[in-house]
């Protein structure tokens, strides 16, 4: 890890513990589940915390706009259906350009990253993914102006998918 990266990581860690300033407070309030656990322990994997930091950067994801459709409970963790729906305009001026699907307890946190063109006119992606065990799942959508939107759901699986 480079010095710069180390410095940034330590700043981020401290920020989650010491709520300094309105900006950090707002970030914690809005994105508490991801940031608050960054300091350690809990059910969020280190991998997940790193992935979240990489994607979010200095941005402040806000809830809403993006919807993560997953079953609340599913028998087979090998193939859990998901649908990511963003309720936002899709024009050249303003469009969703990237959607990330993240798991908090799989060996690999990033599940998929989707890149969308404004010419699609709508932002909706579906598929099937693996869940090693019951866990929270996150979706992050990025608009072309850098705005970030987040949604989170808990999925219970009866049989974990070997990931």
């Amino acid at each position: 890890m480079s010095m710069a990266a180390k410095f940034q990581a330590s700043v981020l860690d401290r920020r989650t513990v010491v709520v300094a300033g309105a900006r950090a407070a707002a970030a914690l309030a809005m994105f508490g589940p991801a940031r608050a656990v960054a300091a350690g322990g809990s059910t969020r994997s280190k991998e997940f915390q790193r992935a979240i930091r990489d994607i979010v950067g200095d941005g402040e994801p806000v809830p809403g706009t993006v919807d993560l459709k997953v079953p609340r409970r599913f028998d087979n963790g090998h193939a859990v259906p998901f649908s990511l729906v963003v309720d936002a305009p899709m024009t050249q001026q303003s469009h969703i350009e990237r959607i990330d699907l993240l798991s908090t307890a799989n060996p690999v946190a990033r599940v998929a990253t989707f890149y969308l063109s404004a010419s699609l006119g709508v932002a909706e992606v579906s598929g099937r993914f693996r869940l090693a065990k019951s866990q929270d799942v996150f979706v992050l959508a990025r608009r072309n102006d850098g705005a970030l939107f987040v949604a989170q759901k808990h999925v219970k699986v009866t049989i974990g998918g070997c990931t």
């Binding site: 060996p107 998929a112 989707f114 890149y115």
Partner: protein, 107 residues
């Protein structure tokens, strides 16, 4: 990696309608963290990239990780502005590619 396929729903949309492009491919999506019955790690072999072009322009792409299920099903939606052809490409770890083309017919 075999049998790439796709379906457009509805199959004969009008201009302005939203269609869903449903894609499927047969692939083991071996994660690389699974052990065989001798306790040896099974080497990773997954599809890492999916790309959809419409009339030569990229409209949808995906970076894919081991968390995507075997025989990956992926779908995306598009508002129809003109007829044309989707060219779909899947790329696996080995660099090998699979392709499928499907026309978008407008009623």
């Amino acid at each position: 990696m075999r049998n790439p396929r796709a379906k457009i729903v509805p199959s004969a949309p009008s201009i302005g309608d939203v269609v869903e492009v449903k894609t499927l491919i047969t692939h083991v999506m071996e994660t690389g963290s699974r052990k065989d019955r001798f306790g040896k790690l099974v080497p990773r072999n997954i599809i890492t990239r999916f790309c959809a072009e419409f009339n030569g322009a990229v409209v949808f792409e995906a970076d894919i990780f081991p968390g995507i299920s075997a025989n990956p099903y992926l779908s995306f939606k598009m508002r129809v502005s003109q007829p044309g052809t989707f060219r779909l490409t899947w790329v696996e770890d080995s660099g090998q590619e699979a392709q499928y083309s499907i026309p978008l017919k407008v009623a």
